[in-house]
Symmetry: C2
Subunit: 246 residues, 2 copies
Protein backbone atom coordinates (compact mmCIF):
# COMPACT_ATOMS: atom_id res chain seq x y z
CA UNK A 1 0.00 0.00 0.00
CA UNK A 2 1.30 3.36 -0.95
CA UNK A 3 0.00 5.32 2.01
CA UNK A 4 0.39 5.17 5.75
CA UNK A 5 -1.41 2.35 7.50
CA UNK A 6 -2.74 2.27 11.02
CA UNK A 7 -0.87 -0.23 13.17
CA UNK A 8 -3.15 -3.28 13.06
CA UNK A 9 -6.46 -2.19 11.61
CA UNK A 10 -7.15 -2.19 7.90
CA UNK A 11 -7.83 1.11 6.16
CA UNK A 12 -10.93 2.36 4.42
CA UNK A 13 -9.85 3.41 0.92
CA UNK A 14 -12.16 5.77 -0.95
CA UNK A 15 -11.73 4.72 -4.57
CA UNK A 16 -13.03 6.94 -7.37
CA UNK A 17 -14.47 5.31 -10.48
CA UNK A 18 -14.88 6.50 -14.09
CA UNK A 19 -17.54 9.04 -15.02
CA UNK A 20 -18.56 6.77 -17.88
CA UNK A 21 -16.68 5.29 -20.82
CA UNK A 22 -13.66 3.00 -20.68
CA UNK A 23 -10.69 5.36 -20.57
CA UNK A 24 -8.80 4.15 -17.51
CA UNK A 25 -5.86 6.42 -18.41
CA UNK A 26 -7.59 9.10 -16.31
CA UNK A 27 -7.11 6.94 -13.19
CA UNK A 28 -3.80 7.14 -11.25
CA UNK A 29 -1.61 4.01 -11.03
CA UNK A 30 -1.96 4.26 -7.23
CA UNK A 31 -5.64 3.43 -7.56
CA UNK A 32 -4.88 0.14 -9.31
CA UNK A 33 -2.11 -0.69 -6.82
CA UNK A 34 -4.50 -0.20 -3.92
CA UNK A 35 -7.36 -2.11 -5.57
CA UNK A 36 -5.02 -5.10 -6.12
CA UNK A 37 -4.77 -5.55 -2.38
CA UNK A 38 -8.40 -5.18 -1.40
CA UNK A 39 -10.77 -8.11 -0.94
CA UNK A 40 -13.73 -6.36 0.66
CA UNK A 41 -15.72 -3.63 -1.04
CA UNK A 42 -18.64 -1.47 -0.03
CA UNK A 43 -20.46 -0.43 -3.21
CA UNK A 44 -23.63 1.18 -4.55
CA UNK A 45 -24.18 -1.50 -7.18
CA UNK A 46 -22.40 -4.86 -7.24
CA UNK A 47 -22.66 -5.40 -10.98
CA UNK A 48 -21.13 -2.09 -11.97
CA UNK A 49 -18.51 -2.40 -9.23
CA UNK A 50 -17.37 -5.74 -10.67
CA UNK A 51 -17.38 -4.27 -14.15
CA UNK A 52 -15.22 -1.38 -12.99
CA UNK A 53 -12.69 -3.69 -11.32
CA UNK A 54 -12.46 -5.74 -14.51
CA UNK A 55 -11.86 -2.55 -16.53
CA UNK A 56 -9.16 -1.58 -14.06
CA UNK A 57 -7.49 -4.85 -14.95
CA UNK A 58 -6.80 -6.09 -11.44
CA UNK A 59 -4.62 -9.18 -11.65
CA UNK A 60 -5.97 -12.73 -11.54
CA UNK A 61 -9.32 -11.24 -12.48
CA UNK A 62 -11.35 -14.46 -12.64
CA UNK A 63 -10.16 -15.68 -9.30
CA UNK A 64 -10.07 -12.37 -7.53
CA UNK A 65 -13.40 -11.00 -8.65
CA UNK A 66 -15.12 -14.17 -7.47
CA UNK A 67 -13.27 -14.12 -4.18
CA UNK A 68 -14.18 -10.53 -3.41
CA UNK A 69 -16.81 -9.62 -0.88
CA UNK A 70 -19.24 -6.88 -1.92
CA UNK A 71 -21.40 -5.11 0.63
CA UNK A 72 -24.25 -3.03 -0.69
CA UNK A 73 -24.90 0.58 0.33
CA UNK A 74 -27.90 1.42 -1.81
CA UNK A 75 -31.03 3.32 -0.77
CA UNK A 76 -32.50 0.17 0.75
CA UNK A 77 -29.45 -0.72 2.83
CA UNK A 78 -29.83 -0.13 6.54
CA UNK A 79 -27.24 2.46 7.63
CA UNK A 80 -26.83 0.48 10.87
CA UNK A 81 -25.37 -2.33 8.76
CA UNK A 82 -22.55 -0.07 7.63
CA UNK A 83 -20.83 -0.54 10.97
CA UNK A 84 -20.87 -4.30 10.40
CA UNK A 85 -19.44 -3.89 6.91
CA UNK A 86 -16.44 -2.24 8.53
CA UNK A 87 -15.69 -5.19 10.81
CA UNK A 88 -13.23 -6.59 8.26
CA UNK A 89 -11.09 -3.48 8.85
CA UNK A 90 -11.11 -3.89 12.61
CA UNK A 91 -9.80 -7.40 11.88
CA UNK A 92 -6.95 -6.04 9.77
CA UNK A 93 -8.34 -6.22 6.22
CA UNK A 94 -8.41 -3.18 3.96
CA UNK A 95 -11.80 -2.12 2.62
CA UNK A 96 -12.58 -0.24 -0.58
CA UNK A 97 -15.51 2.13 -0.95
CA UNK A 98 -16.74 2.56 -4.54
CA UNK A 99 -19.29 5.00 -5.88
CA UNK A 100 -21.37 4.46 -9.02
CA UNK A 101 -19.44 7.25 -10.73
CA UNK A 102 -16.65 9.55 -9.64
CA UNK A 103 -15.58 10.22 -6.07
CA UNK A 104 -17.18 8.09 -3.36
CA UNK A 105 -18.75 9.65 -0.27
CA UNK A 106 -19.53 12.86 -2.11
CA UNK A 107 -22.92 12.32 -3.72
CA UNK A 108 -23.79 8.85 -2.42
CA UNK A 109 -24.54 7.10 0.91
CA UNK A 110 -20.80 6.52 1.33
CA UNK A 111 -20.39 9.45 3.69
CA UNK A 112 -22.32 7.49 6.33
CA UNK A 113 -19.80 4.66 5.97
CA UNK A 114 -16.88 7.09 6.27
CA UNK A 115 -18.42 8.63 9.38
CA UNK A 116 -18.73 5.18 10.95
CA UNK A 117 -15.09 4.45 10.06
CA UNK A 118 -13.88 7.57 11.89
CA UNK A 119 -15.93 6.52 14.94
CA UNK A 120 -14.28 3.11 14.92
CA UNK A 121 -10.80 4.59 14.59
CA UNK A 122 -10.32 3.14 11.09
CA UNK A 123 -7.96 5.20 8.95
CA UNK A 124 -9.78 6.78 6.00
CA UNK A 125 -7.65 7.25 2.87
CA UNK A 126 -9.17 9.15 -0.06
CA UNK A 127 -7.63 8.35 -3.45
CA UNK A 128 -7.23 10.75 -6.35
CA UNK A 129 -9.65 10.32 -9.24
CA UNK A 130 -12.25 12.04 -11.39
CA UNK A 131 -14.64 14.47 -9.74
CA UNK A 132 -17.08 15.99 -12.20
CA UNK A 133 -17.64 18.92 -9.82
CA UNK A 134 -13.98 19.82 -9.52
CA UNK A 135 -13.35 19.38 -13.26
CA UNK A 136 -16.36 21.58 -14.07
CA UNK A 137 -15.24 24.23 -11.59
CA UNK A 138 -11.70 24.29 -13.02
CA UNK A 139 -12.93 24.49 -16.59
CA UNK A 140 -15.61 27.10 -15.91
CA UNK A 141 -13.12 29.95 -15.54
CA UNK A 142 -15.13 31.19 -12.57
CA UNK A 143 -14.00 31.94 -9.03
CA UNK A 144 -12.72 28.75 -7.40
CA UNK A 145 -11.75 30.47 -4.14
CA UNK A 146 -15.37 30.62 -2.96
CA UNK A 147 -18.01 28.29 -4.26
CA UNK A 148 -21.10 26.33 -3.27
CA UNK A 149 -22.36 23.03 -4.58
CA UNK A 150 -26.15 22.69 -4.27
CA UNK A 151 -26.62 19.09 -5.45
CA UNK A 152 -29.95 18.68 -7.23
CA UNK A 153 -32.05 21.81 -7.49
CA UNK A 154 -35.83 21.93 -6.86
CA UNK A 155 -37.98 20.05 -9.39
CA UNK A 156 -41.15 22.14 -9.28
CA UNK A 157 -40.89 24.85 -11.95
CA UNK A 158 -41.85 27.86 -9.81
CA UNK A 159 -39.55 26.84 -6.96
CA UNK A 160 -36.78 26.09 -9.39
CA UNK A 161 -36.86 29.43 -11.14
CA UNK A 162 -36.85 31.28 -7.82
CA UNK A 163 -33.96 29.12 -6.61
CA UNK A 164 -31.91 29.74 -9.76
CA UNK A 165 -32.55 33.47 -9.64
CA UNK A 166 -31.61 33.60 -5.97
CA UNK A 167 -28.30 31.76 -6.38
CA UNK A 168 -27.41 33.74 -9.54
CA UNK A 169 -28.09 37.00 -7.66
CA UNK A 170 -25.91 35.74 -4.80
CA UNK A 171 -23.11 34.90 -7.25
CA UNK A 172 -23.33 38.36 -8.83
CA UNK A 173 -23.27 40.09 -5.46
CA UNK A 174 -20.58 38.07 -3.66
CA UNK A 175 -18.58 36.47 -6.47
CA UNK A 176 -19.22 33.05 -4.95
CA UNK A 177 -19.53 30.49 -7.74
CA UNK A 178 -22.63 28.25 -7.70
CA UNK A 179 -22.62 24.65 -8.93
CA UNK A 180 -25.57 22.29 -9.30
CA UNK A 181 -26.76 19.23 -11.17
CA UNK A 182 -30.03 17.95 -12.60
CA UNK A 183 -31.43 14.57 -13.56
CA UNK A 184 -30.14 14.18 -17.16
CA UNK A 185 -33.60 13.71 -18.67
CA UNK A 186 -34.57 17.16 -17.36
CA UNK A 187 -31.62 19.03 -18.90
CA UNK A 188 -33.65 20.58 -21.74
CA UNK A 189 -36.17 22.04 -19.33
CA UNK A 190 -33.49 23.32 -17.00
CA UNK A 191 -31.59 24.96 -19.86
CA UNK A 192 -34.72 26.78 -20.96
CA UNK A 193 -35.29 27.97 -17.40
CA UNK A 194 -31.70 29.23 -17.19
CA UNK A 195 -31.82 30.98 -20.57
CA UNK A 196 -35.24 32.49 -19.89
CA UNK A 197 -34.96 33.52 -16.27
CA UNK A 198 -31.36 34.45 -15.42
CA UNK A 199 -30.06 37.95 -16.10
CA UNK A 200 -28.28 38.58 -19.42
CA UNK A 201 -24.97 39.31 -17.65
CA UNK A 202 -24.93 36.12 -15.53
CA UNK A 203 -22.14 33.74 -16.52
CA UNK A 204 -23.18 30.13 -17.12
CA UNK A 205 -20.86 27.20 -17.70
CA UNK A 206 -22.36 24.04 -19.15
CA UNK A 207 -20.07 21.05 -18.58
CA UNK A 208 -21.44 17.88 -20.17
CA UNK A 209 -20.00 14.36 -20.52
CA UNK A 210 -16.93 15.35 -18.52
CA UNK A 211 -13.87 13.16 -19.31
CA UNK A 212 -15.74 11.42 -22.17
CA UNK A 213 -14.88 11.80 -25.88
CA UNK A 214 -18.14 13.75 -26.26
CA UNK A 215 -17.11 16.23 -23.54
CA UNK A 216 -18.67 19.68 -24.06
CA UNK A 217 -17.62 22.54 -21.78
CA UNK A 218 -18.45 26.16 -22.58
CA UNK A 219 -18.80 29.33 -20.51
CA UNK A 220 -20.81 32.27 -21.82
CA UNK A 221 -23.07 34.96 -20.43
CA UNK A 222 -26.78 34.24 -20.59
CA UNK A 223 -27.04 36.89 -23.34
CA UNK A 224 -24.46 34.99 -25.38
CA UNK A 225 -26.07 31.60 -24.68
CA UNK A 226 -29.40 32.93 -25.98
CA UNK A 227 -27.69 33.65 -29.31
CA UNK A 228 -25.80 30.34 -29.41
CA UNK A 229 -28.72 28.24 -28.20
CA UNK A 230 -29.77 27.06 -31.66
CA UNK A 231 -26.25 25.77 -32.37
CA UNK A 232 -25.56 24.01 -29.08
CA UNK A 233 -25.57 20.19 -28.92
CA UNK A 234 -28.58 18.36 -27.55
CA UNK A 235 -27.84 17.59 -23.90
CA UNK A 236 -30.86 15.36 -23.36
CA UNK A 237 -29.95 12.47 -21.02
CA UNK A 238 -26.26 13.49 -20.84
CA UNK A 239 -24.68 14.15 -17.42
CA UNK A 240 -24.17 17.89 -16.95
CA UNK A 241 -22.67 20.03 -14.21
CA UNK A 242 -23.99 23.60 -14.26
CA UNK A 243 -21.86 26.47 -12.99
CA UNK A 244 -23.20 29.99 -12.45
CA UNK A 245 -21.03 32.93 -11.48
CA UNK A 246 -19.77 36.30 -12.50
Amino acid sequence: MSQKQSSRKGNLYLIPTLLGGDDTSILPPQLLQVAQEIDVYIVENVRSARRFLVKLGIKKVGKVIDDLTFHLMDKHADPHQFGQYLQAATKGQHIGLLSEAGCPAVADPGSTVVKAAHKKGIEVIPLVGPSSLMLALMASGMNGQQFTFHGYIPIQKGDRIKYLQRIAAHASKTGETQLFIEAPYRNRHLLNDLFDHLRPENLLCIAADITLPSQYIRTYTIAEWRKKKAKMPDLHKRPVVYVVGR
Copy 2:
Protein backbone atom coordinates in the same frame (compact mmCIF):
# COMPACT_ATOMS: atom_id res chain seq x y z
CA MET B 1 -4.15 13.65 -27.34
CA SER B 2 -6.68 11.60 -25.55
CA GLN B 3 -9.56 14.02 -25.68
CA LYS B 4 -11.49 15.82 -28.38
CA GLN B 5 -9.71 18.64 -30.14
CA SER B 6 -11.21 21.70 -31.75
CA SER B 7 -10.68 21.74 -35.49
CA ARG B 8 -7.60 23.94 -35.91
CA LYS B 9 -7.02 25.72 -32.61
CA GLY B 10 -4.91 24.27 -29.84
CA ASN B 11 -6.56 23.40 -26.56
CA LEU B 12 -6.00 24.81 -23.10
CA TYR B 13 -5.25 21.84 -20.83
CA LEU B 14 -5.71 22.36 -17.10
CA ILE B 15 -3.01 20.16 -15.58
CA PRO B 16 -3.09 19.36 -11.86
CA THR B 17 0.21 19.07 -9.99
CA LEU B 18 1.23 17.26 -6.79
CA LEU B 19 0.19 18.56 -3.37
CA GLY B 20 3.79 18.16 -2.24
CA GLY B 21 6.16 15.20 -2.16
CA ASP B 22 7.32 13.13 -5.11
CA ASP B 23 4.71 10.40 -5.46
CA THR B 24 3.68 10.72 -9.09
CA SER B 25 1.67 7.48 -8.83
CA ILE B 26 -1.27 9.66 -7.79
CA LEU B 27 -1.26 11.30 -11.24
CA PRO B 28 -3.15 9.62 -14.12
CA PRO B 29 -1.17 8.39 -17.17
CA GLN B 30 -3.30 10.74 -19.27
CA LEU B 31 -1.65 13.70 -17.58
CA LEU B 32 1.82 12.59 -18.67
CA GLN B 33 0.59 11.80 -22.21
CA VAL B 34 -0.85 15.30 -22.53
CA ALA B 35 2.21 17.00 -21.01
CA GLN B 36 4.45 15.22 -23.54
CA GLU B 37 2.78 17.14 -26.34
CA ILE B 38 2.74 20.61 -24.85
CA ASP B 39 5.40 23.22 -25.52
CA VAL B 40 3.73 26.28 -24.03
CA TYR B 41 2.82 26.58 -20.36
CA ILE B 42 1.13 29.23 -18.27
CA VAL B 43 2.35 28.82 -14.69
CA GLU B 44 2.40 30.45 -11.26
CA ASN B 45 6.11 29.84 -10.75
CA VAL B 46 8.52 28.83 -13.50
CA ARG B 47 11.00 27.06 -11.25
CA SER B 48 8.47 24.77 -9.59
CA ALA B 49 6.73 24.18 -12.91
CA ARG B 50 9.99 22.94 -14.43
CA ARG B 51 10.64 20.80 -11.38
CA PHE B 52 7.19 19.27 -11.68
CA LEU B 53 7.66 18.44 -15.36
CA VAL B 54 10.98 16.79 -14.56
CA LYS B 55 9.31 14.72 -11.82
CA LEU B 56 6.63 13.73 -14.29
CA GLY B 57 9.43 12.32 -16.42
CA ILE B 58 8.44 13.88 -19.71
CA LYS B 59 10.61 12.36 -22.42
CA LYS B 60 13.74 14.02 -23.79
CA VAL B 61 13.79 16.04 -20.58
CA GLY B 62 16.91 18.09 -21.21
CA LYS B 63 15.87 19.15 -24.66
CA VAL B 64 12.19 19.57 -23.97
CA ILE B 65 12.40 21.54 -20.73
CA ASP B 66 14.75 24.04 -22.34
CA ASP B 67 12.58 24.33 -25.42
CA LEU B 68 9.41 24.99 -23.45
CA THR B 69 7.88 28.42 -23.18
CA PHE B 70 6.69 29.46 -19.73
CA HIS B 71 4.35 32.40 -19.25
CA LEU B 72 3.94 33.70 -15.73
CA MET B 73 0.56 34.27 -14.08
CA ASP B 74 1.65 35.44 -10.64
CA LYS B 75 0.18 38.31 -8.61
CA HIS B 76 2.29 40.80 -10.54
CA ALA B 77 1.28 39.57 -14.00
CA ASP B 78 -1.10 41.84 -15.86
CA PRO B 79 -4.36 39.94 -16.48
CA HIS B 80 -4.55 41.66 -19.88
CA GLN B 81 -1.42 39.73 -20.85
CA PHE B 82 -3.27 36.44 -20.36
CA GLY B 83 -5.01 36.96 -23.69
CA GLN B 84 -1.60 37.22 -25.37
CA TYR B 85 -0.39 34.06 -23.65
CA LEU B 86 -3.25 32.24 -25.37
CA GLN B 87 -2.20 33.31 -28.87
CA ALA B 88 -0.22 30.09 -29.30
CA ALA B 89 -3.54 28.21 -29.10
CA THR B 90 -5.18 30.34 -31.74
CA LYS B 91 -2.19 29.38 -33.92
CA GLY B 92 -2.79 25.67 -33.30
CA GLN B 93 -0.47 24.90 -30.36
CA HIS B 94 -1.76 23.27 -27.19
CA ILE B 95 -1.20 25.17 -23.96
CA GLY B 96 -0.89 23.77 -20.44
CA LEU B 97 -2.01 25.64 -17.33
CA LEU B 98 -0.19 24.61 -14.14
CA SER B 99 -0.94 25.63 -10.57
CA GLU B 100 1.60 25.67 -7.74
CA ALA B 101 -0.22 22.75 -6.12
CA GLY B 102 -3.26 20.72 -7.03
CA CYS B 103 -5.92 21.71 -9.54
CA PRO B 104 -5.27 24.83 -11.62
CA ALA B 105 -7.85 27.59 -11.91
CA VAL B 106 -9.36 26.76 -8.54
CA ALA B 107 -7.34 28.74 -6.01
CA ASP B 108 -5.00 30.66 -8.30
CA PRO B 109 -5.17 33.37 -11.01
CA GLY B 110 -5.70 30.61 -13.58
CA SER B 111 -9.45 31.16 -13.71
CA THR B 112 -8.83 34.47 -15.48
CA VAL B 113 -6.84 32.60 -18.13
CA VAL B 114 -9.62 30.04 -18.54
CA LYS B 115 -12.20 32.79 -18.88
CA ALA B 116 -10.13 34.40 -21.63
CA ALA B 117 -9.84 31.02 -23.39
CA HIS B 118 -13.62 30.59 -23.48
CA LYS B 119 -13.95 34.12 -24.94
CA LYS B 120 -11.48 33.23 -27.69
CA GLY B 121 -13.25 29.97 -28.51
CA ILE B 122 -10.33 27.87 -27.29
CA GLU B 123 -11.37 24.44 -26.02
CA VAL B 124 -10.72 24.09 -22.29
CA ILE B 125 -9.90 20.55 -21.14
CA PRO B 126 -9.58 19.91 -17.40
CA LEU B 127 -7.45 16.89 -16.47
CA VAL B 128 -7.98 14.62 -13.48
CA GLY B 129 -5.59 15.07 -10.57
CA PRO B 130 -5.30 15.77 -6.86
CA SER B 131 -7.68 18.30 -5.31
CA SER B 132 -7.12 18.73 -1.59
CA LEU B 133 -10.66 20.08 -1.22
CA MET B 134 -12.32 17.11 -2.85
CA LEU B 135 -10.12 14.60 -1.01
CA ALA B 136 -10.87 16.30 2.32
CA LEU B 137 -14.59 16.37 1.59
CA MET B 138 -14.63 12.66 0.66
CA ALA B 139 -12.65 11.67 3.73
CA SER B 140 -14.59 13.88 6.15
CA GLY B 141 -17.65 11.62 6.15
CA MET B 142 -19.82 14.74 6.00
CA ASN B 143 -22.55 15.64 3.53
CA GLY B 144 -21.06 15.95 0.05
CA GLN B 145 -24.39 16.70 -1.62
CA GLN B 146 -24.39 20.30 -0.40
CA PHE B 147 -21.22 22.09 0.56
CA THR B 148 -19.50 25.46 0.48
CA PHE B 149 -15.82 26.25 0.18
CA HIS B 150 -14.91 29.58 1.80
CA GLY B 151 -11.24 29.85 0.81
CA TYR B 152 -9.25 31.66 3.50
CA ILE B 153 -11.26 32.79 6.50
CA PRO B 154 -10.88 36.22 8.17
CA ILE B 155 -7.55 36.86 9.90
CA GLN B 156 -8.66 39.23 12.66
CA LYS B 157 -9.52 37.18 15.74
CA GLY B 158 -12.92 38.70 16.51
CA ASP B 159 -14.08 38.51 12.91
CA ARG B 160 -12.76 35.01 12.60
CA ILE B 161 -14.57 33.62 15.61
CA LYS B 162 -17.84 35.19 14.48
CA TYR B 163 -17.30 33.79 10.98
CA LEU B 164 -16.59 30.28 12.27
CA GLN B 165 -19.59 30.33 14.59
CA ARG B 166 -21.81 31.56 11.78
CA ILE B 167 -20.79 28.87 9.30
CA ALA B 168 -20.95 26.12 11.96
CA ALA B 169 -24.47 27.23 12.89
CA HIS B 170 -25.40 27.22 9.19
CA ALA B 171 -24.02 23.68 8.84
CA SER B 172 -25.98 22.49 11.89
CA LYS B 173 -29.18 24.05 10.62
CA THR B 174 -29.05 23.12 6.93
CA GLY B 175 -26.67 20.15 6.81
CA GLU B 176 -24.52 22.03 4.28
CA THR B 177 -20.88 21.10 4.82
CA GLN B 178 -18.41 24.00 5.21
CA LEU B 179 -14.79 23.84 4.01
CA PHE B 180 -12.05 26.40 4.51
CA ILE B 181 -8.29 26.79 4.64
CA GLU B 182 -5.80 28.88 6.61
CA ALA B 183 -2.21 29.98 6.10
CA PRO B 184 -0.27 26.99 7.51
CA TYR B 185 1.65 29.07 10.07
CA ARG B 186 -1.66 30.10 11.64
CA ASN B 187 -3.00 26.54 12.11
CA ARG B 188 -2.35 26.42 15.86
CA HIS B 189 -4.30 29.62 16.46
CA LEU B 190 -7.14 28.50 14.24
CA LEU B 191 -7.38 25.13 15.98
CA ASN B 192 -7.62 26.83 19.35
CA ASP B 193 -10.37 29.09 18.01
CA LEU B 194 -12.26 26.08 16.68
CA PHE B 195 -11.89 24.06 19.88
CA ASP B 196 -12.78 27.03 22.10
CA HIS B 197 -15.60 28.65 20.18
CA LEU B 198 -17.57 26.04 18.24
CA ARG B 199 -20.36 24.08 19.91
CA PRO B 200 -19.49 20.69 21.45
CA GLU B 201 -21.73 18.85 18.97
CA ASN B 202 -20.25 20.45 15.81
CA LEU B 203 -18.36 17.95 13.65
CA LEU B 204 -14.84 18.99 12.62
CA CYS B 205 -12.61 17.18 10.14
CA ILE B 206 -8.94 18.09 10.12
CA ALA B 207 -7.27 16.95 6.89
CA ALA B 208 -3.52 17.65 6.90
CA ASP B 209 -0.76 16.79 4.41
CA ILE B 210 -3.27 15.22 2.05
CA THR B 211 -1.70 12.58 -0.28
CA LEU B 212 1.64 12.79 1.60
CA PRO B 213 3.11 9.98 3.73
CA SER B 214 2.39 12.18 6.79
CA GLN B 215 -1.30 12.46 5.87
CA TYR B 216 -3.54 12.95 8.92
CA ILE B 217 -7.32 12.95 8.48
CA ARG B 218 -9.70 12.67 11.42
CA THR B 219 -13.32 13.64 12.04
CA TYR B 220 -14.62 14.15 15.57
CA THR B 221 -17.09 16.37 17.34
CA ILE B 222 -15.62 19.44 19.02
CA ALA B 223 -16.30 17.76 22.39
CA GLU B 224 -14.20 14.77 21.27
CA TRP B 225 -11.44 16.99 19.83
CA ARG B 226 -11.15 18.81 23.15
CA LYS B 227 -10.34 15.47 24.78
CA LYS B 228 -7.96 14.35 22.03
CA LYS B 229 -6.26 17.72 21.63
CA ALA B 230 -3.24 16.83 23.74
CA LYS B 231 -2.54 13.74 21.65
CA MET B 232 -2.97 15.24 18.20
CA PRO B 233 0.07 15.88 16.00
CA ASP B 234 1.48 19.38 15.70
CA LEU B 235 0.02 20.89 12.52
CA HIS B 236 2.20 23.99 12.54
CA LYS B 237 3.14 24.96 8.96
CA ARG B 238 1.44 21.89 7.47
CA PRO B 239 -1.24 22.38 4.79
CA VAL B 240 -4.67 21.67 6.28
CA VAL B 241 -8.19 21.62 4.89
CA TYR B 242 -10.84 22.17 7.59
CA VAL B 243 -14.30 20.71 7.24
CA VAL B 244 -17.20 21.61 9.53
CA GLY B 245 -20.58 19.92 9.39
CA ARG B 246 -23.10 17.88 11.25
